[in-house]
């Protein structure tokens, strides 16, 4: 085994990551960013593999960056979003908040301490992991994005912690039950506190298995969509022939972007009544309250759903 495990503080772990990155990526101009990205151990919301999102040869890492560009495109009225039609109101919000709906740990490091950029919409919370040596505690600093929220007029209630997958160890049944209770208790109050957890299954046409996402940790359609893009990108990359050659980051990333902006896929959901709807038609809170599960389907299959919405999508391309 070529991994040296001499360093045994938390940073030591990142050395393992470093070696892994070294073995996977011959020359990567984003090396610095990758190191920092892999130092962070917290999972991205909705990510089932909290720590290794950069594992896919940095393809996902760059996808993150690429996806951000994708959103900017949207703001600038560029190529259509692959996911859904966003109603007029929230588009305006996008512009205001610099559009970056990406919820990404790595962004914290990469954006030159511009922690609050790109994470505008909604009461999105951010954590900044402070790496420490062995004897010091590893603290999760919570930065509440109050300033970013104010333009939305959204509540700046105590922001929930950034969630690590599966922590604290509470069963889904309990989380979902309590989420319903909280909703009932606090509906009149400050709106969703996000203190529960709502796992819904997400399937994608052509993908071999489905994923579960926790809707509670997103605050907007943007957050959700970017997380889903990351989660399912490996399938589309696979389909479109980028053969595990992670060094060619640019290639796989741009292929995916083409794919997504070509509106090949739409995001749909099944609501409480059993109807399949396009994601994005109703206000976010209503969506969370009624979404039972989601499906990423090919645009061609989604035609029956909401013809005008589809029209909108296509027109944006």
């Amino acid at each position: 085994m070529s991994i040296s495990i001499e360093e045994h503080d938390y940073i030591g772990l990142s050395e393992v990551n470093m070696e892994k990155k070294a073995c996977e990526i011959a020359a990567n101009s984003n090396k610095d960013l990758n190191l920092k990205a892999t130092e962070l151990r917290l999972g991205l919301p909705g990510s089932e593999s909290p720590e290794r999102e950069a594992v896919n040869g940095g393809a996902i890492k760059n996808l993150v960056a690429g996806a951000k560009r994708g959103f900017s495109d949207t703001i600038n009225g560029g190529s259509g979003k692959w996911v859904f039609s966003v109603n007029g109101g929230s588009e305006v919000d996008l512009v205001k908040n610099n559009g970056g709906g990406l919820f990404s740990c790595s962004k914290v490091e990469n954006n030159n301490n511009n922690n609050n950029s790109g994470l505008g919409v909604g009461s999105v919370k951010e954590s900044h992991v402070v790496l420490a040596s062995t004897n010091k505690p590893l603290l999760l600093e919570k930065k509440v994005q109050v300033s970013g929220n104010s333009s939305n007029g959204q509540t700046s209630a105590p922001a929930p912690k950034q969630q690590v997958v599966g922590w604290p160890p509470i069963r889904s049944f309990r989380k979902n039950t309590m989420a319903v209770s909280h909703t009932k208790n606090e509906e009149e109050a400050d709106g969703k506190m996000g203190s529960g957890c709502l796992y819904v299954k997400v399937s994608m046409d052509g993908a071999p298995y489905l994923r579960k996402v926790d809707l509670e940790i997103y605050s907007s359609y943007l957050d959700l969509s970017s997380a889903l893009e990351k989660m399912f990108s490996c399938f589309t990359i696979g389909q479109y022939g980028s053969h595990g050659a992670p060094t060619r980051d640019g290639l796989s990333e741009s292929r995916l972007m083409d794919l997504l902006h070509g509106s090949e896929y739409v995001l749909t959901y099944e609501d409480k009544d059993g109807d399949w709807m396009l994601v994005g038609d109703v206000p976010w809170d209503m969506f969370i309250g009624s979404c039972k599960r989601m499906r990423i389907m090919k645009s061609s299959d989604a035609i029956g759903l909401a013809p005008r919405a589809m029209e909108k999508c296509r027109n944006r391309t």
Partner: protein
């Protein structure tokens, strides 16, 4: 001398031996005992459904009446195991339907069960009596319809915390009028409303009904009706526990509860309206089990209830109980054996409840029989842990979850090594331990040295190096299940303790530092282990040996690699030839 006993005599003797461990020991004495024993074993427990195949079990034990299987790893409860992992009950049920026509009981935990399987169960086992589906998924209320309609002698239907595709509540109406055998019904996990009149009639014609756990959809005003039909109930789970302000409902409920002289356990209490709590005061003095862990009631109300329950042995609450409520427990509940405190707002940084380590210390002082603890809190100290350990050396299960990962002793800012060390040192019979907070390799040194009876250990965000894992693997003689997440444990400890892995049921490691190469090596060296690597990014084929695995699940098996793995899981022996696609 032994051989001169006729088989029937030995069989009769063996019938008094019920523990699996003992049965296994009996079967090792000699060949004839092995043969006799295997023909008269009636209960099978398979802790890991992939450790053995249905065929092997059926071949050895041809006359089984009760089967219990467990599927997914424990961490599946916390969404660490991806969808499609496995744990399919189908093959087991199909083979058993052919081999065990007289099967009476099936208990499944964390497995995927289909409606087809439920239909099969309901039609193939003529004397089917008990179905327990704990944290299972994959079936719908249609499957339940078959169970209700076809199982003539059904005694127990328990769906605890399963994820059921809830198409409607009509299934309950399919219990035939001739079905009077029901003893236990738990539908608490179901969302949709069942026909109340069907439920009432079912309860009314089931004189042996002892356990009834309703779902949230059963309204409070109907509860008294059910209680009047079933005053013999021993365990009751209410539905929603609020109903506006209605004195007639309250009075009816109060009267109905006072008629339930046998009631020992209560649960449910969703959406609690505190003004209805006194309705069950009349049963409190007899209660041995109280589950308020879904009840968002605040401290003064909880304290009032607890104060009336001197015979409580098991208490599950939320952190609304606060330290003051736990003081009341310590004062009143001298018979307490098990305490579980769940967090009401686990994802919010600052607690708005005053539940600290003091509550637990208090209970450890006041409750001499306390043996099992599950405690979520936001702060802990070494001194508190040491006190708890000294107070309660009879602890068997200690699961502490400090909500913030890597939180240190809040008083000294030191790691909690010494505190947990005291727990394992004083509690010599400790069988289950879950760690949290800031921990270095030292705590594992203590665990390896002292925790000789430990069977299950859960570790998260702890340790500094492989030495930590090595201490555990080399020191904990009784270890059966080890689950680890987000710890800097790599190859060295695993490879230094390969033989240990075969003495354990399973090992789960996720977000650690074990390499692909080590997994392959382990797999080659230990053919009796399945070394399964989980990688959801789908690039299993192109990984180099030095790359760390995402998630790793190692378990001993006599059934070889399993054939139902999704694409993102690979048993390492399949990776001998590393092809780049």
């Amino acid at each position: 001398m032994v051989n001169s006993f006729p088989e029937e005599v030995l069989e009769h003797v063996f019938s008094f031996i019920t523990l699996d461990k003992d049965r296994n020991a009996v079967s090792l004495v000699c060949k004839s005992w092995y043969e006799i024993e295997r023909w008269c074993r009636r209960r099978i427990f398979v802790g890991n459904c992939y450790a053995v195949s249905p065929g092997i079990v059926i071949r050895r034990f041809p006359e089984v009446r009760s089967v219990e299987l467990k599927g997914k790893p424990h961490f599946a409860d916390f969404n660490l195991v991806p969808e499609g992992w496995g744990g399919y009950a189908c093959s087991w049920i199909t083979e058993m339907s052919r081999a065990y026509p007289w099967l009476e009981e099936i208990r499944l935990k964390r497995m995927v069960v289909t409606d087809e399987s439920l239909e099969l169960i309901s039609t193939c086992f003529k004397n089917f009596k008990v179905l327990v589906l704990s944290s299972c998924e994959g079936f719908s209320t249609d499957g339940l319809t078959d169970i209700a309609a076809n199982c003539r002698n059904l005694r127990k239907l328990d769906l605890r915390e399963s994820e059921v595709m809830d198409l409607s509540g009509h299934w309950l109406s399919h219990f035939p009028n001739t079905c009077t055998s029901l003893e236990s019904l738990n539908i608490a996990c179901l969302g949709s409303e069942v026909s109340f009149s069907a439920l009432e009639r079912l309860v009314a014609r089931s004189p042996n009904l002892k356990t009834l756990r309703l779902n949230r959809a059963v309204p409070l005003e109907k509860l008294s009706t059910l209680l009047r039909q079933a005053p013999q109930l021993v365990q009751l789970g209410t539905g929603a526990y609020s109903s506006g302000i209605r004195s007639d409902v309250y009075l009816g409920l109060s009267k109905a509860f006072s008629g339930c002289k046998a009631l020992k356990g209560l649960s449910g209490f969703w959406d609690v309206d505190p003004s209805y709590l006194p309705a069950f005061y009349s049963v409190c003095s007899r209660l041995t089990s109280l589950n308020l862990s879904y009840a968002t009631i605040r401290s003064p109300d909880i304290t009032k209830v607890i104060g009336r329950c001197p015979n409580l042995q098991r208490l599950w609450v939320m952190d609304h109980v606060e330290d003051s409520g736990l003081n009341a427990v310590a004062f009143s509940c001298k018979d307490l054996r098990e305490l579980r405190v769940f967090p009401s707002d686990p994802f919010v940084a600052d607690a708005n409840v005053t539940l600290t380590e003091r509550g637990l210390v208090s209970v450890s002082e006041g409750c001499p029989k306390l043996q099992s603890v599950l405690y979520f809190c936001r702060q802990m100290s070494n001194s508190a842990l040491i006190t708890i350990a000294r107070n309660r050396p009879n602890l068997i299960c200690f699961r502490l979850c400090i909500i913030e990962p890597r939180a240190p002793d809040y008083l000294t800012l030191e790691p909690l090594d010494v505190g947990f060390g005291a727990i394992v040192e004083h509690c010599k019979e400790l069988r289950r331990l879950s760690l949290s907070g800031l921990l270095t390799d030292r705590v594992f040194e203590y665990i390896g040295r002292h925790a000789k009876r430990l069977e299950m250990l859960s570790i998260a965000f702890a340790g500094n190096s492989d030495l930590g894992l090595h201490h555990v693997l080399s020191g904990c003689d009784g270890l059966r299940k080890l689950e680890i997440r987000d710890c800097p444990f790599g190859d060295k400890a695993l490879l230094a303790n390969v033989a240990k892995l075969e003495t354990m049921r399973s090992l789960w490691m996720s977000s650690c530092a074990v390499s692909f190469g080590a997994c392959k090596f382990l797999s080659r060296k230990m053919p009796m282990l399945n070394v399964e690597v989980i990688d959801e990014n789908g690039t299993l084929d192109s990984r180099l040996d030095s790359c760390p695995v995402e998630k790793l699940y190692i378990y001993r098996t006599v059934a070889g690699p399993r054939s139902d793995m999704p694409a993102y899981i690979r048993t390492m022996d399949q990776c001998r030839v590393n092809t780049i696609s």
